[in-house]
């Protein structure tokens, strides 16, 4: 299935880079350096997506350097340090897994840990909210989405490799399933109490990664179909939500829930987009996220009713935190002192992401 997806993933990757590039070229300084970083990052990551090559480690290294340079250029010193630690650990694990322990279960374990770290899976998730909090929302959305694409592809490949060791493969699947459930619940639970919108979206990413991990660990055709839908849906919607967070941050200087209120009056387009992205991530019918979750629910229910219950609990928490965020930011009486004069109502970028979501939904149903 991953091979069948191979032609589409670079397109999605390129689309993300282009959309973020629009913001970088329009609103940010040091445009040339940022542009160069994006080009190098795209070049190396596309190689990683395209297939397993002997130069994989080299491109991984280039990708890490390009991303860290981007953070340095944009002036995010604190995030640079934290991400530096994460990326260094990742590279060390990768080198060990692909050289000394190559083609052994131990090597696969090291690789899985490396990808879990980058995907911010329990218990290696702490770095993500801290980094996201200290950087702008566009960069946060950009690096989260590219991590989700690249590292999930690499994790998927690693899990496929693990199938050469049947007993180990079963243990790995079981382990990943439980880790996925914990990640999902933890991400959703933490997002429930988070007041900072960007951090909330970071926790929501952890929550969504839990679903992806569950789907991958079940490794049945239906669960993998569900995972692919959730994966693409997550990338598109999360990027859209980060763009919305960027607009709010830029125009109101307030990104904390409960402080900015009633924004729907001035920004109806943003409110509508936020709602659509939130609903699809929650898994409300008839949005694409629902179909993905439905497939996963079906497969999990075949396995265990208790796990199904925990997944539903996670789904309920997702619903609560997204709806709470939507109401607290967009609905209710407006607080005039926190809002600057209205800006363009709906960005072209958001329209494109919304269209992607709708097209994805139609493709799933009618394809």
């Amino acid at each position: 299935m991953l091979k069948a997806l191979a032609p589409f993933l670079p397109v999605i990757y390129m689309a993300i880079t282009l959309l973020c590039g629009v913001f970088y070229l329009r609103d940010f300084n040091k445009k040339l350096m940022v542009f160069l970083c994006l080009v190098v990052l795209t070049f190396s990551n596309l190689f990683l997506i395209w297939g397993e090559t002997s130069y994989g480690l080299f491109f991984d290294g280039i990708s890490v350097i390009a991303l860290l340079t981007l953070f340095w250029v944009l002036g995010y010193k604190e995030a640079f340090k934290i991400l530096g630690v994460v990326e260094t650990s990742y590279l060390v694990l990768l080198i060990l897994g692909k050289t000394i322990f190559a083609h052994t279960p131990e090597g696969i374990v090291l690789l899985v840990i490396a990808f879990f770290l980058k995907l911010a899976v329990f218990p290696l998730f702490l770095w993500l909210p801290i980094v996201v909090k200290t950087i702008d929302a566009v960069t946060a959305g950009f690096f989260i989405c590219i991590f989700e694409i690249i590292d999930f592809v690499l994790l998927w490949r690693t899990v496929e490799q693990a199938s050469c060791f049947p007993q180990f493969f079963e243990s790995l699947r079981e382990f990943s399933l439980y880790i996925g459930i914990i990640t999902l619940l933890l991400g959703a639970g933490l997002a429930l109490f988070e007041k900072n919108l960007k951090k909330l979206l970071a926790y929501a990413t952890i929550d969504d990664t839990g679903y992806l991990l569950i789907g991958l660990s079940l490794f049945s055709p239906v669960s993998l179909y569900g995972t692919v839908i959730l994966w693409i849906n997550h990338v598109i919607s999360k990027l859209g939500l980060f763009f919305i967070a960027y607009r709010i941050e830029k125009n109101t200087s307030v990104i904390s829930l409960g402080k900015a209120k009633g924004l729907a009056k001035d920004y109806p387009g943003l409110a509508f987009s936020f709602l659509v992205f939130a609903l699809t991530l929650i898994g409300v019918p008839i949005f694409p996220g629902f179909w993905g979750k439905l497939f996963l629910y079906q497969e999990v229910l075949k396995l265990s009713k208790a796990l199904f219950g925990l997944m539903v609990l996670g789904g309920c928490l997702t619903l609560v935190y997204f709806i709470r965020a939507y109401h607290s930011l967009f609905l209710g009486e407006k607080e005039p002192e926190t809002v600057n004069p209205p800006l363009p109502k709906l960005d072209l970028v958001l329209v494109m992401l919304l269209s992607f979501t709708i097209v994805l939904g139609c493709l799933i149903i009618g394809f």
């Binding site: 019918p285 789904g315 609560v320 709806i323």
Partner: protein
């Protein structure tokens, strides 16, 4: 094909309203919604006639072909007795309410595209739910109705109260909706669903309790009254709250009946909800909240009727579902007229409106008589059927409770009649005219006519709408008669003698001035005694039942459960926060 068209036309209408949201005209969007709902009703009628002629048939749209080997997600609409029953009354009521809304919404300044897009999407989803044969699509439509309700309650999104009300309604109904998903998945995945029927029914019941506002998950509906009145009438009286009732019938069909435990549970849960609903309704001074609590109460009869499990029990439930959609829809429309005429929903600020709004008063009287179960109106027949079914099924307590609740319902509507329509007319309402509300009244008349027709000739509904559904459920057909007399004869006699009475009055009594109007004898009492306000009623009831009201609100217990879960998560959150601080310090 007409089955698909009936749903498709509404989705198309919703799309047009959404795309042309910039046309800020209530008439454009309102007329479109009225037209699409009328076309949907027309298609459904064609389907119904075809069904009567040729029996069951279905419409099939292959979807999700790429995953068909693992899960069947084809869209299948089926015309059978049960599906068409729910679809037909929903489409009929929506026509009346959409006509009403054309005038009602002219009071708004903006948001017409949004409003009517969701109204049409809601009706389409409701029809989709009731016609769908595939349980997964039933779930999709079930949740779409909830989503529309959420957006429509939040119509005045700039108000904190509307925002809160919408949030509460969506959270409660969507979370409970996972129960339906569980039921659908277990039913589909199990080779023999009977083995897991307890799990399936438990899941479905949770969804039903929230959607059909039964104890203890009804607490969102009083808040939902902060939506425009057509929304309250169409969603929170006629259709949305019937989705749960439909689900019970659907699973009754799929499982071939319910086990004894579940039947008993449904009977007494329904009656308990009904009692709670009516007791809370009694203390309301807000006319829409009062009607909302009566929805809780009346749906209790339907749930209880299904629990009885006999032909007559299920027939009473079906008939009451139909009747409730008509009379409750009508009462909400009346409430909307009162609200626009007096600019308040508070009954205490109304009074003497019968003299200024006579046609509205007649509509109210028809609705109130129907819901109270007064003979000659549709509510009487379905309630009578329920009492009879309960006694025959050896549940006399349910019958007694039903009768008691009906008495309290009558009391509640006498309060409305007394405080809003009778008594002294308020000074500020002296210039009131009914003329601007004629279109709204016409919408009400569409709902009022069947209340009387089904009250006098219930056999029409029983033969053409209820018996086909009973046949599908493998139950014997029912036939209603009072005192061994056919209902058609009783209806005909009633009309004959009513006509005779009117004839005598106008040709003999009135011209000869035999009946004289005199002032009412007050026995020396002060005038205020004869002009009690809703507050007078409410204060009395609240004083007597203060302890009950304090402890009976389920929200306080639900909040405690939520707080407990929140407390647990908060502990994890605090720990993670500390860890985050430790992690970020060295950097």
């Amino acid at each position: 094909m007409f089955l698909g068209f009936s749903v498709g036309v509404l989705f198309l209408g919703a799309l047009i309203s959404a795309l042309f949201y910039r046309i800020n005209s209530p008439k454009f969007h309102g007329s479109l919604a009225f037209l699409t709902s009328a076309v949907a009703l027309y298609f459904l009628n064609l389907t119904f006639f075809e069904f009567i002629k040729a029996g069951e048939f279905s419409w099939h749209l292959p979807l999700f072909r790429w995953i068909r080997d693992f899960i069947n997600l084809d869209l299948i609409f089926k015309a059978n007795g049960l599906n068409l029953f729910f679809a037909l009354f929903g489409a009929y009521v929506s026509v009346g309410i959409n006509l009403y809304a054309i005038k009602y919404m002219t009071h708004e300044k903006e948001g017409f595209g949004r409003f009517y897009a969701f109204i049409q999407l809601f009706i389409g989803s409701y029809l989709g739910l009731t016609l769908s044969e595939n349980l997964f699509w039933s779930y999709v439509f079930f949740e779409l109705t909830g989503l529309c309700s959420y957006q429509l309650i939040a119509f005045w999104y700039q108000s904190d109260l509307s925002s809160f009300s919408a949030k509460k309604a969506f959270l409660m109904t969507h979370i409970a909706g996972y129960g339906f998903l569980l039921g659908a998945l277990v039913f589909t995945l199990s080779p023999d669903p009977k083995v897991y029927q307890d799990l399936i029914l438990a899941g479905v019941l949770i969804a039903v309790l929230a959607k059909s506002v039964q104890w203890p998950l009804y607490t969102w509906i009083p808040y939902a009254m902060n939506a425009p009145t057509p929304v309250s009438a169409l969603l929170h009286a006629a259709c949305l709250v019937k989705c749960g009732v439909y689900l019970l019938f659907k699973f009754y069909l799929l499982l071939g009946g319910f086990p004894e435990f579940w039947k008993n549970l449904l009977i007494y849960l329904g009656m308990f909800s009904s009692l709670m609903g009516v007791l809370f309704a009694l203390k309301q001074a807000d006319v829409k909240k009062l009607l909302a609590y009566h929805t809780v109460s009346q749906i209790g009869y339907m749930v209880s009727g299904i629990g009885l499990g006999t032909s007559l029990g299920l027939a009473s439930s079906l008939f009451h579902t139909l009747n409730h959609a008509l009379f409750k829809g009508l009462l909400f429309l009346v409430a909307g007229i009162l609200q626009q005429a007096t600019h308040t929903r508070d009954l205490s600020l109304m009074g003497g409106l019968a003299s200024k709004l006579p046609k509205t008063t007649v509509l109210y009287l028809i609705g109130a008589a129907s819901i109270s179960g007064i003979p000659g109106f549709n509510g009487f027949v379905s309630k009578w059927m329920f009492y009879q079914a309960a006694i025959e099924a050896n549940h006399p307590l349910a019958a007694a409770l039903g009768l008691f609740i009906s008495t309290l319902t009558t009391l509640s509507f006498i309060k409305v009649l007394d405080t809003a329509f009778l008594g002294k007319l308020d000074e500020k309402n002296k210039q009131l005219s009914e003329k601007p509300f004629y279109l709204m009244i016409t919408g009400g008349i569409i709902l009022a006519i069947p209340c009387v027709v089904f009250g006098l000739f219930p056999q029409i509904a029983i033969t053409f709408l209820i018996n086909p559904a009973l046949s599908l459920l493998n139950l014997r057909e029912v036939n209603i008669s009072f005192y061994q007399l056919p209902t058609v004869l009783i209806g005909a006699l009633f009309i004959l003698f009513l006509g005779l009475g009117i004839l005598i009055y106008f040709t003999w009594l009135k011209p000869k001035e035999i009946i004289k109007e005199t002032e009412v004898f007050k026995g020396g009492e002060d005038e205020p005694v004869f002009n009690p306000t809703a507050d007078d009623f409410v204060a009395d009831i609240e004083n007597r039942l203060a302890n009950f009201y304090k402890k009976a609100d389920p929200d306080q217990y639900l909040l405690k459960i939520c707080s407990f879960i929140e407390g647990l998560i908060l502990k994890v959150y605090t720990t993670v926060k500390k860890l985050e601080q430790i992690w970020s310090k060295p950097c």
